[in-house]
């Protein structure tokens, strides 16, 4: 690796444009986090390989009351080792106000061999906010041992905790590939849907793996997924799979189960 570590802070703010569409009063890319827009959609385009060991990246997105925003990435994010084995940090803060909708659907995060990355995603939702958020982690590129990766997802709604989960993989996380955590699989992901409509009509817990025995006792080969209602008005799809493609298929299927009509 040839470049020095960088510190970058990108910002997005979405507001209603008064004509039923979305305005972006703030769209500020920084360093490796270049931002491109089209209508109500923002794409994070990697302007350089990142995160690299030692990088400190931050991305804040705010969806003001009544606005809609979709954010994705142009490609998978690959966590790479830096010059001195330093850890990199990627912090995302998402704020969604009342009657606002955020679709946060980045491509997978891949932990390359020797990398060390810690990500935090903090989400603050107003009571009337809606959210679809997907996170996918792939442990190592094809055929390699993964680096160290820890991801924390903290979601608060109306100021109270709704979901708080941390996943850690690699050497510093004993048992990560064992039968309690990933069972030797290399791709794991979650899709979270928060919608006040779930207050009255929560989803039912349901397994999505298809090659099960009738009693659901056996894990399938390619992957397993689960839809669960959280303790608040939200549904979580959790999937573990042998590769990124299978993972995405399971999460997509979960999303269709949870979100009937697109919103």
């Amino acid at each position: 690796m040839t470049r020095w570590s960088v510190t970058a802070h990108a910002r997005i703010t979405a507001a209603p444009d008064g004509r039923g569409g979305t305005a972006l009063p703030e769209l500020a890319g920084d360093g490796p986090l270049a931002l491109r827009r089209s209508r109500d959609r923002v794409t994070v385009v990697g302007a350089m390989a990142a995160p690299l060991g030692g990088d400190r990246l931050r991305l804040d997105a705010t969806v003001l009351a009544g606005a809609r925003l979709r954010v994705g990435t142009a490609a998978a994010t690959i966590s790479l080792p830096g010059r001195d084995g330093a850890e990199s940090v990627y912090d995302v803060t998402l704020t969604v106000e009342d009657r606002a909708v955020l679709h946060w659907l980045p491509e997978p995060l891949i932990a390359a061999a020797g990398s060390r990355l810690r990500t935090t995603t903090r989400v603050e939702l107003a009571e009337g906010a809606r959210l679809v958020l997907r996170e996918e982690q792939v442990l190592g590129r094809s055929g390699e041992q993964p680096g160290a990766l820890s991801t924390r997802l903290t979601v608060r709604r109306a100021g109270r905790p709704l979901l708080d989960q941390e996943l850690s993989f690699g050497q510093a996380a004993p048992g990560w590939d064992g039968p309690a955590v990933l069972g030797g699989r290399r791709a794991v992901g979650q899709l979270l849907v928060v919608d006040p409509a779930f207050e009255d009509k929560p989803v039912a817990a349901r397994l999505l793996d298809r090659d099960d025995g009738l009693d659901g006792s056996h894990a399938s080969d390619g992957g397993d997924a689960l839809v669960t209602p959280l303790a608040g008005p939200a549904a979580l799809v959790t999937a573990v799979a042998r590769d990124a493609l299978t993972l995405r298929r399971l999460l997509d299927e979960g999303q269709r189960e949870v979100v009937g009509a697109p919103w």
Partner: protein, 243 residues
């Protein structure tokens, strides 16, 4: 049981100085303490059926993962309850840290059973108040932490008990489910003790931080396969263990 509305639980009493309550640690951590834990396998029964746990080595791998995820998260909540954080806030934090409804139900059921035993053993206003506020059961680690505090134990000891339970449950269950050699399983537990001590330290440190920074400072480590296995297990018609 009082029918009056519950006052907010007062903070747990300060721990006895100098580890004077050490024997209480043994009573509370003992598998024979009548808190209902023996009926639960901590996900081991589902992992055995799925083939992931089949011998002492795979059991150790399972337990190492469980210790560092569900165990550490429970230990942080327990230590924070002992340290005096509001148990109802911790109960909500436990909900947010438990994505599986089957695991939320199990944790509350075990919390209710532990509450009954703990109030008999170490009666006190903190346990009474939580029992009144959560009549169907608070999350088990929160009850454990309050019980430890009432018994005069420090947060670090509450973390140790939560972590110890997180591996002894699966280990004992695996002996029964797989007819494993009990000596080999005792050796597995012995090999886990350095990890367990480190996790207890981390949980106690996080609990101290949470006194100032709130519950977000507590561990939230999760394990996807434990969630999947719990939901699968809850759907079986016939099973040896309740979870």
């Amino acid at each position: 049981m009082s029918t009056h509305p519950a006052p907010p639980p007062p903070p747990a009493p300060a721990p006895a100085p100098g580890g004077a309550a050490r024997a209480a640690l043994l009573v509370l951590a003992d598998g024979r303490f009548p808190a209902g834990g023996h009926a639960h396998s901590g996900g081991a029964e589902a992992a055995v059926r799925a083939g992931g746990v089949h011998d002492p080595d795979s059991l150790e791998h399972f337990c190492r993962g469980r210790l560092r995820t569900a165990g550490l998260t429970a230990a942080g909540l327990a230590a924070a309850a002992t340290a005096g954080l509001d148990p109802l806030v911790l109960d909500e934090a436990a909900d947010a840290r438990t994505a599986s409804p089957a695991l939320r139900a199990t944790s509350r059921k075990l919390g209710r059973q532990l509450m009954r035993a703990a109030r008999a053993a170490w009666p006190g206003p903190a346990l009474d108040a939580l029992a009144a506020a959560r009549p169907r059961g608070a999350h088990q680690p929160v009850v454990l932490g309050l019980a430890a505090g009432t018994a005069g134990l420090p947060p670090h000891d509450a973390a140790h008990i939560a972590l110890y339970e997180s591996v002894t449950g699966p280990a004992t269950a695996a002996v029964r489910l797989l007819s494993l050699d009990p000596f080999a399983v005792a050796a597995v537990l012995a090999r886990l003790t350095p990890d367990l001590d480190r996790a207890a330290e981390a949980a106690a440190t996080a609990a101290r931080a949470a006194l100032h920074d709130g519950v977000d400072a507590l561990p939230a480590a999760s394990a996807p396969l434990l969630d999947l296995a719990a939901e699968r297990h809850a759907r079986w018609k016939v099973r040896l263990f309740a979870s």
